[in-house]
């Protein structure tokens, strides 16, 4: 029993990882069948994990209501909203022209869009009160930021085409060079993590579950 709890998942991860890695270097038909088969199965598994994510969110809010945690009224709202959306969705489907489609467009979109639109006000107050060139690096950042901010907008192009050309130059050259260094670093980090997962050294993704 202990084997299935500890060793088997690690062996399975190693076997799956190696097969799917080696398969990449084999052009034969069996390799493409393996690739397509794994993808079809993975989509079903991911479907269940998505349902699990929603159930655990619901579980969390139901607990808050049951234990009368302060602010459990908000959780009641979430649960009620969830149930009515699910029922209407299952009966009438979710596309525009159905109750869910209506709620999506007139309740969900405005709320989420506005939540992020509030950030514009915070940027404005930060512009007045917080964005300081505290160090030489911050000064370089601010100068580049201001040039791009004004150069990439019609008013900048109106003031002088050189301003917008220079903003374009910043985007295509220093910005590109800097972020390419970051992309190369991130790619290496991703590969390092993949190696650790396949060789069973990294197990956080397995999660507790016991």
């Amino acid at each position: 029993m202990q084997f299935f709890r500890k060793q088997f998942p690690i062996l399975l991860a190693f076997a799956m990882g190696m097969t799917m890695f080696i398969r990449e270097f084999v052009p034969a038909k069996i390799a493409t069948d393996l690739y397509e088969g794994f993808t079809k199965w993975a989509i079903v598994i991911v479907g269940f994990s998505a349902v699990f994510a929603i159930l655990s969110l619901l579980h969390h809010h139901v607990n808050r209501v049951r234990r009368k945690v302060p602010g459990y009224g908000y959780s009641m709202v979430t649960i009620i909203a969830f149930i009515q959306m699910l029922l209407l969705g299952l009966i009438f489907s979710v596309r525009p022209g159905t109750p869910v489609g209506w709620e999506y467009w007139w309740l969900f979109v405005p709320m989420q869009a506005t939540m992020f639109a509030t950030l514009a006000f915070f940027i404005a107050s930060a512009a007045f009160r917080a964005f300081r060139a505290r160090t030489w690096e911050a000064l370089a950042l601010l100068i580049a930021g201001l040039l791009v901010m004004i150069g990439r907008v019609p008013i900048g192009e109106f003031i002088s085409p050189y301003l917008s050309d220079f903003a374009g130059w910043i985007m295509n050259n220093p910005n590109m060079a800097g972020l390419r260094g970051v992309v190369l670093g991130v790619a290496l980090a991703q590969i390092a993590i993949s190696v650790r997962i396949i060789f069973g050294i990294e197990r956080t993704y397995m999660g507790g579950g016991d």
Binding site: P27, K29, A126, I191
Partner: protein
Amino acid sequence: MKNNLSQAAIFFVLLFALSLAGFAQEPEELPPAAGDPSEIAALQDADIVIGLEEEEPEVPVTTVPLPSGVTLRDLPNDDGTGLYLTWEAFPEESPELTYTAYLAETPNGPWLEAGSIAGNESYMEDHGHYFPIFYWFKKSREAKLHHVLLVQDVATGEFDAKGNAIRLPEPEGFTVRPNVGPKNKDGRPIEPGIIDPDTGEEKVSTKLVEIQPRTIGELYVKLEARLGDATAEYPEVLSATARENWFDVSKTNMLILAVLFGATVLYFISRARRDPNLFIRKINGLDAVDEAIGRATEMGKPILYLNGMSSLADLSTLAALNILGRVARRVANYESTLVVPCRDPIVLTVAQEIVKAGFADAGRPDAYNEDNIFFLTEDQFSYAAAVCGIMMRDKPAANFFMGYYYAESLILAETGASTGAIQIAGTDAVTQLPFFVTTCDYTLIGEELYAASAYLSREPLVLGSLKGQDMAKLFMMVVILIGTLLVTFGMSFVKDLFKALG
């Protein structure tokens, strides 16, 4: 420091040794590159003669240059559904000259057009995926000398209800296996052209019947050259068998680099387990952290520490928790309190353990107060607003923003800056770094956060990966320098080695 560079040198030598080996291994017998002199001469004379005679120009007899050295072989690096024709190219071939290949299953059977190319395109170096050794080692010397015409899975296409091809003229004699489509109630596959139960007559189904690319097996191919309306056929009918290849030679560079890099990471992780103090350069971000703690504790004001908005599955959250341990040890022997509001319940429990251990290490287990490390809320913006509330109320002298952040980072950093606190940030969220840099006194950028956590915790997994990635960066820098140097002097050899042909 010395041994790190020596290791890099070994990899470097190994890679070059490999590429020299590539030189030695001559690809399968390729015909000599020299064009057939008589053909070219005939072509040039014809042009001059016509130009000279001024009176009534008789109809110019265009002789179509017949390709020479034509061979047909199984297409490498594919799943057994392709062959390729190759022949020498003439020095300058006009685009009007087109080569067409016809194929059949019997030497004189019905011929089916299998593809055509113009005179000045589709050379061997254009198909790097199928001819990697040529691309890597011989491209610079033998450019534009070998034409290639691919003969690949011919019988794709759609069949209508009656089973006859819609797109491709299908002479009989071809064996075609439509793949097994949907089955009806009693499990029999639904063939095109089923009887419609309601109306009784034949129902034309537009069902996609996906044709398996036929495993070509033994095939006969003939090549025809055409210039204007004059055509010439290569006398001999060639034949070859397509085979399923089991190793994609064009991905050898990727395989070697992946194995090398994987081995490096594993090697350094095992070394980090034996000797935790592998060398890592001084991270001046950590001095900024100590200095901020010092100034904050002088004023006796609290210190605020955030572990980011993401869960334990995120590397930067783990790094943030490592740095929290050090901050806790430093704050322990002063009077000021350490406030850690959390967004993720699991991160909360880990943070509590780390701070308790930190205070214990510093010999002040009594100073640890669990209420200072608490769960706020999981909603992104309410969490940010609640933290701003703490900043305004308790006026902490130092704010630490470590871990992964989303759009709300601006709200936190701006409120913190306006309270005049010293702020240190560390994140790998590229989109949020600009706001931290302009509003904080010091920012750990991207991988510096991981390096700081490796520097502090000396945890083999993080330390080993970091050193492994460093070796790969060293290798990249060296190859970029050499590759660019060679390329500016016209030798693209090193650069080609790193082209993803797969």
